[in-house]
């Protein structure tokens, strides 16, 4: 006879931490800190630290809502089936409640701590990602990550607004870099995960338009992204270091995008070579690919480094004049 007793959750605190998508969160923190340090004006270091914490938790809350809403879909994909909700370690409703509570706390605290423009932008980011992207866009159009990518591009604008209380064009330039970076980054991954997306019923570009069209679109987006990423180096935002990193890094990005365009990556959907294997649901699954998919894997991996280097260069160049380091320089 089966045990009819309602089962209490055995989820560990670590499972809830995984709901926050810590890898994504680290990129959010990095870009938000850059926006915060690049912005003109002064901010108390403790206020800045609390603001960054709020932005990180807000982004994590959006991730928890996404995982709560996407548990069944995540369970169908190799890359995501190890996630807490997909693997059944955390109940769907618990994940959603966790996400809602953290969203409210982070937005409220950011508003009290800095200003309501920054808090409003954080709230908008959460609603945009969890509501607009996850619930509406993701399953409806192959342009899902193009439009949805805006959610990931907001953190530097929020960081900037936390200092100045507004969001001028320089902040939106940082937004634009991440926005244009998202399609080549995500589609490079999708090229060697197309089978996964097809199985889950998600109309990613390689699933709907095919690998060849996706490779061409990656090249086109890269050709737009690289010049735009150089622009901060020609303004007050960046200096010679940024200019050098954006030009050299951009050329390498274009080279990898060109190689990908010339390749046959994604032409044959990946077989379930790691189906149920040791890399399932783990980071290794992102990089362990078949030889013909390596150009896609290379661009995917390099795109992360490229964005990190761009923002790191901005950070390094603006750090000495930042009010956090030199209050009298502001």
């Amino acid at each position: 006879m089966s045990d009819a007793r309602p089962k209490l959750s055995t989820a560990q605190p670590g499972d809830y931490f995984q709901l926050l998508k810590p890898r994504v969160m680290s990129l959010v923190i990095f870009t938000a800190v850059t926006g915060l340090l690049v912005a003109p004006g002064s901010i108390n270091p403790l206020v800045a630290a609390i603001a960054v914490l709020c932005i990180a938790v807000g982004a994590g809350a959006a991730g928890a809502l996404n995982m709560g809403l996407e548990g069944e879909t995540d369970a169908l994909m190799k890359r995501t089936r190890g996630r807490p909700v997909a693997a059944g370690r955390v109940n769907k409703n618990d994940a959603l409640a966790f996400g809602v509570i953290l969203s409210l706390f982070s937005v409220m605290l950011l508003g009290m701590n800095t200003n309501w423009v920054a808090a409003g932008l954080l709230g908008l980011t959460i609603v945009y990602y969890a509501g607009f992207y996850t619930l509406m866009l993701k399953r409806r159009t192959p342009q899902n990550i193009v439009i949805g990518g805006a959610a990931g591009a907001f953190p530097p604008v929020i960081g900037w607004a936390a200092v100045t209380g507004d969001a001028p064009w320089q902040a939106w330039l940082l937004f634009l870099i991440i926005f244009l970076w998202t399609p080549p980054h995500s589609w490079a991954l999708a090229l060697y995960s197309a089978g996964d997306y097809a199985r889950a019923g998600i109309p990613m570009m390689p699933v709907v338009k095919g690998a060849r069209s996706t490779r061409l679109q990656i090249l086109i987006y890269s050709l737009v992204l690289v010049p735009v990423a150089i622009v901060p180096g020609l303004t007050d935002l960046g200096g010679p270091l940024y200019l050098g990193v954006s030009v050299v890094g951009g050329l390498l990005f274009l080279l990898l995008a060109f190689r990908l365009w010339r390749s046959r990556a994604g032409d044959q959907p990946e077989a379930d070579r790691v189906h149920g294997g040791p890399t399932v649901g783990r980071e290794a699954a992102l990089y362990d690919v078949r030889i013909d998919a390596k150009p896609a894997r290379n661009l995917f991996a390099y795109s992360i480094l490229y964005l990190m280097l761009l923002f790191l260069a901005l950070l390094v160049e603006n750090l000495p004049a930042s009010p956090l380091v030199c209050p009298s320089c502001a």
């Binding site: 209490l8 959750s9 989820a11 605190p13 914490l53």
Partner: protein
Amino acid sequence: MRLTDEELTARKRRNLWIALGLVAFIVLVFLTTFLRLKQNIEARKALETAAVAEAPAALPMDRS
């Protein structure tokens, strides 16, 4: 309903982290309130100093 040891341990750990999270939130709200009060007091002082500095220049206008 009798809980298994695994369920009890997991619940205890979750409760502990919820408590820590709430304490952290309270501390952050306290710090935020303190910092905002400090900023507002400094801003008021700066305004008062500016008003005092402008006052002598305004006096002849008042007499006429």
